[in-house]
């Protein structure tokens, strides 16, 4: 399936109608709509060209470099998503370590062990590490892990501020920081895992997941597309769970010090 500029222009017509409605009813959305639409076109075109170049080169260095940029952008996002924020760049640092470790391990596992043998005829492990496998899978893993990490940290910060008294009461009675935060980390993890559990529970019933839709539109057999979707759901759910776990453990360390004291002064705003 190959789309021309005219096809895309026709699709954009729907948005133009929206902009017209906004102008007619003075919603003030027309500028935002058009600006984000232009941004989306520019970003996706750029990504398309970059990926084509990387895929054609097949270079390990270019692939790793692209992966690293994706991870850095995601790590930066981790630091922006709590109110109040962590002072300095500690949240970004925690995000970077978490996403680097979880993203790398999950992607290597998904590409090498899970899809490796099925996409190659020969000995699977190494030949499947092509940029066109590694980068999209890393992207899906990062996107979902990022959501779980952000949700973990934001919930942890929020609950810690609210439960400050109860945490300090436990510390005063001689609890370690892990004992004092135990109840909190349980509810943080339940909250962080909820979107993943919900996504697995309703997937396919209400909407078809993006990857499966893409494969079907590209002409793949729906049962094959479903199998591929199951594989990716397992990998991204597992990765998101690991990410949430690492983020909450790291977050507790950021919110306390070596003397196991609660340090809300690491938060600003």
């Amino acid at each position: 399936m190959s789309l021309t500029a005219i096809d895309i222009g026709l699709a954009a017509l729907l948005l133009v109608i929206n902009a017209g409605l906004s102008l007619a009813f003075r919603l003030g959305l027309a500028k935002d709509l058009i600006f984000s639409a232009i941004r989306m076109v520019a970003q996706l075109s750029l990504v398309g060209f970059v990926l084509r170049y990387v895929f054609q080169s097949g270079s390990l260095w270019l692939t790793s470099g692209t992966a690293l940029v994706m991870i850095l952008v995601a790590a930066f996002e981790v630091g922006q998503r709590q109110t109040p924020r962590f002072r300095g760049f500690v949240a970004e640092g925690l995000g970077l370590v978490t996403l680097l470790v979880v993203g790398t391990i999950s992607t290597l596992y998904a590409v090498g062990v899970v899809i490796g043998p099925s996409v190659t005829s020969g000995p699977g492990l190494l030949t499947s590490f092509e940029p066109r496998h590694v980068l999209p899978i890393l992207g899906m893993i990062l996107g979902n892990t990022l959501t779980a990490v952000c949700l973990s940290l934001a919930t942890l910060v929020d609950l810690t501020k609210r439960e400050r008294g109860a945490i300090e009461a436990q510390l005063a009675l001689g609890a370690t920081r892990h004992q004092a935060f135990q109840r909190l980390t349980q509810s943080v993890l339940r909250t962080a895992m909820m979107p993943i559990i919900n996504a697995m529970a309703v997937t396919g019933l209400v909407t078809l997941p993006g990857m499966m839709t893409g494969q079907i539109l590209a002409g793949a057999d729906p049962t094959d597309a479903a199998k591929a979707q199951m594989m990716i759901m397992f990998v991204i759910s597992g990765a998101a769970g690991l990410g949430a776990f690492a983020a909450v453990l790291g977050g507790v360390r950021l919110l306390t010090d070596k003397r196991h004291r609660l340090r809300l002064d690491v938060l600003v705003g």
């Binding site: 510390l171 005063a172 001689g174 609890a175 370690t176 004992q179 003397r259 196991h260 004291r261």
Partner: protein
């Protein structure tokens, strides 16, 4: 037994004093003068400069948790993390004698905390802090919500602990209570910048 050496708490001048085993030091001063933050600093709940020794051992030689198992801060307003009191007690069997001595019984352990009176909760929190017998007690207004009878029970328990060799620091707004319990007083001045500039360390009087 408990030795505070050049402890820097907020804008207060560095504090140096000792409390012997079985001795009770009352900390006095108007609201906002730093009484609670001083107790929290000694319990190592806030980061502060200076040293604190227990039986000659500086607190940095042990973990924060080990220190607070021995140097026990009892907050003026107790916080709870379960709906009833029982799960808050490390050693429920050991707490019974204590509860009875404070005018409570085991039914108070299982009733929802939010149906108990403020005074009952305050005594439960006091028992929770004492049930593993820490050698140092830092009490922040331990009887603020109690009637005279309950107050007398808590004071009797404090005196029993003092007899057993526990070192006690107490913050109280009740001067008669301080008279009954303490051997020495530490007076903290108001924390306003002008006042602390005009009246430095000399305002701290330990009449031991």
């Amino acid at each position: 037994m408990l030795k505070i050496d050049q402890l820097q708490v907020r804008q207060l001048p560095p504090l140096t004093f000792e409390v012997d085993a079985g001795a009770c030091l009352a900390i006095e001063g108007p609201s906002g003068s730093g009484k609670t933050v001083l107790l929290r600093a000694i319990a190592d709940l806030d980061a502060t400069e200076g040293q604190v020794f227990l039986d000659g051992v500086e607190r940095q030689a042990m973990t924060g948790a080990e220190w607070r198992k021995q140097v026990r801060f009892v907050a003026a307003e107790a916080r709870w993390w379960e709906p009833t009191a029982r799960p808050h007690f490390a050693d429920v069997a050991g707490a019974y004698r204590l509860l009875v001595g404070l005018g409570l019984d085991s039914s108070h352990l299982d009733r929802p905390l939010d149906v108990l009176s403020t005074g009952e909760r305050q005594r439960l929190a006091f028992a929770r802090a004492l049930c593993d017998n820490p050698p140092v007690l830092l009490l922040d207004e331990p009887t603020s919500a109690l009637d005279a009878a309950a107050c007398a029970l808590v004071e009797r328990e404090i005196l029993a602990r003092l007899d057993a060799g526990v070192a006690v620091l107490i913050v109280s707004h009740d001067s008669e209570q301080i008279e009954r319990l303490s051997d020495a007083r530490l007076q903290l001045g108001p924390l306003s910048p002008q006042a602390s500039a005009r009246a430095p360390a000399s305002q701290l009087v330990v009449d031991a």
